[in-house]
Symmetry: C2
Subunit: 217 residues, 2 copies
């Protein structure tokens, strides 16, 4: 049975992992007959967003690992405990948390700095030729991990795509229910909620992403 | 297109709505060609549970509606704004929040008191003969809503089943991937994470629950 590491960035689209993208990805992993283990960085979130108002909850602090545990029913480990040798593939769902807590893309754009512990794990998967799937805005992190004109997508937002190209990637436009595959680097990306207007639209692309990642040798 | 009201109780299995159950239910609603609107009570959670440690986060307070908004990508309304006449069916996912924030079953057992605003909405669906699906521990709330020996399930936990019978329901044992249907009351229940050891197990029963609710006239 293939074993998949999933890196989360909190629990909620505006300050953490997008919930639908994460649950759909976990379902797809299990449906493909593989198993998963969730990880997250043990550090404070960039901020907390009140998901009802959309505003920053001033003065409130939450921990990425503790909140991500909500998406893993408590079964989660710090990303520093992720040994890539124990896994066959890596999946990183989107949500703004991927660009706020796994790297600083949301704040720093083309000067985005990946979280050091996350980068170490992601680089190990890349360098050992193990396949990975990054959804939604998580490809902004992939740009820093792979560089070298790696092919990826965040959908069709011109300004975001240009900033990601400044980080060293080659952006490819992609429909919401499709994926972009860099076969050499074994990187699969899908726009998900960068474009999705509905949970079914997001599901279509995410299912293809997970299936393609798990079909790679 | 059928319109489904979904009542949430927070965002996280230990103090709110179970995330997998909620997302799977929303997917099933859309897959059946129906649409949904999420609601939640605008009040403080019973407590906040640190989902990493499983312990109560002392001194921390969160609002049920604000946290439920994470599960609805911000598209959620107070349960007081739910007009049952505008909907064809009701779905209530499980998670401890259903027994902590929608009623007091987790604390008071056979003396469980439903939240007044939630009860008003649930009763309106029941009294107008509109179908409803309650998953996991949410049938503890259904017992208070329907009473009169309504047939329902929370799986096979003898002590919980007995307490629910003291609330006026008739408990029926049920496998994780199955449902219990009270055809007269148009109530459909499934054990979900009362029994599920895996997201696929929960999905099987939840899909049946949603499909059955939406097939009822």
């Amino acid at each position: 049975m293939k074993n998949v590491a999933v890196i989360l960035s909190g629990s909620g689209v505006f300050d953490g992992s997008e919930l639908y993208e994460t649950v759909i990805s976990l379902l797809a992993i299990r449906r493909a007959g593989a198993q998963y283990q969730c990880f997250a960085p043990d550090k404070e979130q960039l901020h907390v967003i009140n998901h009802l108002s959309g505003e920053v909850a001033e003065g409130e602090k939450r921990n990425v690992l503790v909140e991500s545990a909500r998406l893993a029913r408590g079964e989660i480990k710090p990303v520093t405990e992720c040994d890539p040798e124990a896994f066959d593939a890596l999946i990183i769902p989107g949500g703004f948390g991927a660009a706020k807590n796994l790297c600083t893309f949301a704040v720093d754009g083309a000067d985005s700095q990946p979280d050091e512990d996350v980068l170490k794990v992601c680089k190990a998967f890349a360098q050992s030729g193990k396949p990975a799937g990054y959804a939604c805005i998580a490809p902004a992190l992939a740009a820093s991990v792979y560089g070298n004109k790696v092919k990826l997508t965040i959908g069709n937002d011109t300004s975001t795509a240009q900033t990601i190209e400044e980080l060293g990637a080659q952006h490819v436009e992609c429909a919401v229910d499709e994926i972009v595959v860099d076969s050499d680097r074994k990187l699969v990306t899908t726009p998900a909620y960068m474009l999705a207007e509905d949970i079914l639209e997001a599901e279509a692309g995410l299912n293809k992403m997970v299936e393609t990642v798990l079909s790679m040798q």
